[in-house]
Symmetry: C2
Subunit: 174 residues, 2 copies
């Protein structure tokens, strides 16, 4: 295991700024592509990240610390965001995500004020017993998953444009 | 086809800043992992991006414009960077990449001063005839490929730490 709370926080803190550097100022054509029916575009992926901040990570961590194994987490609706705020611009979405993330990191630091709490357990409806440190690791990897998804969706816009080089470009095959 | 030079440049311009936002300030533990034997860590991936700036993209574009189909590109050694500058820090590597990329975007704009040039052709040793716009599209997708690679390598550091959530985290399976 490699987990260490301050290193996890390093990554969680960077995600909003990484999205800003990568996305702000791009033409619309880069932002509205997806990977085919039933897949998400960049705007939808950011809505999903916002959703995680409000309903998933910190609420579940609080449940682990307060309720332990006495009740299981309410399910996280991974599709809820598809009905949300279509009128928000990309700039507004990233700003909202950034604000929520900052608040949640503050809460995370307050909640996890001792190393022992990393080993506390709760109940996931599908997986059974899970640990606080597994939830926080998952939060980090979830960010990284969705950053790769955003980058991959953008790359696929040029799938035909690259001509024969497609063969060398692994990202186009995922 | 979606290719349009100014949109391609938008992405090429952002890559160094995205790498800065994503990587600068991370602990060493995040930067030295790879995906197993024969795979690259973050430092090696940035060396490879630097290599592309010096020996691949602009030199090949110049060959297309000057030599057309009369000679084929010298091969791009995709492993050359593995022997390079191990003493450089991450900050120095990103700074070098940023400087080279800025120069190359300036050159790109000078070289591609008319739309017609996008259709000019050269010879790739393995693929045969390729177009200037295919080369430039590939440059963009190559950046995106290696951004996803860096993010994926980092995610894999927590493969065991996420516990049962591994099942939901696609990035860990790639």
């Amino acid at each position: 295991m490699n987990f260490n709370l301050s290193e996890a926080i390093e990554v969680l803190e960077k995600t909003p700024r990484t999205l800003e550097s990568f996305l702000l100022g791009l033409s619309e054509g880069w932002l509205h592509g997806n990977e085919g029916e039933g897949t998400w575009n960049t705007m939808q992926i950011i809505d999903h990240l916002i959703d995680g901040e409000t309903t998933n990570w910190i609420p579940r961590l609080q449940m682990i610390l307060e309720d332990g194994e006495s009740k299981s987490f309410p399910p996280f609706d991974r599709f809820a965001h598809l009905q949300q705020k279509p009128e928000q611009t990309l700039v507004e979405k990233i700003k909202e995500f950034k604000r929520l993330r900052e608040d949640n990191i503050t809460k995370l630091k307050v909640l996890m004020d001792s190393e022992n709490k990393l080993e506390q357990t709760g109940i996931h409806a599908a997986f059974g017993v899970v640990k606080a440190r597994e939830l926080i690791s998952t939060w980090v990897v979830h960010d990284l998953t969705h950053i790769t998804q955003i980058v991959r969706v953008m790359a696929k816009r040029y799938r035909l444009d690259v001509g024969p080089w497609e063969e060398y470009l692994g990202v186009l095959k995922k």
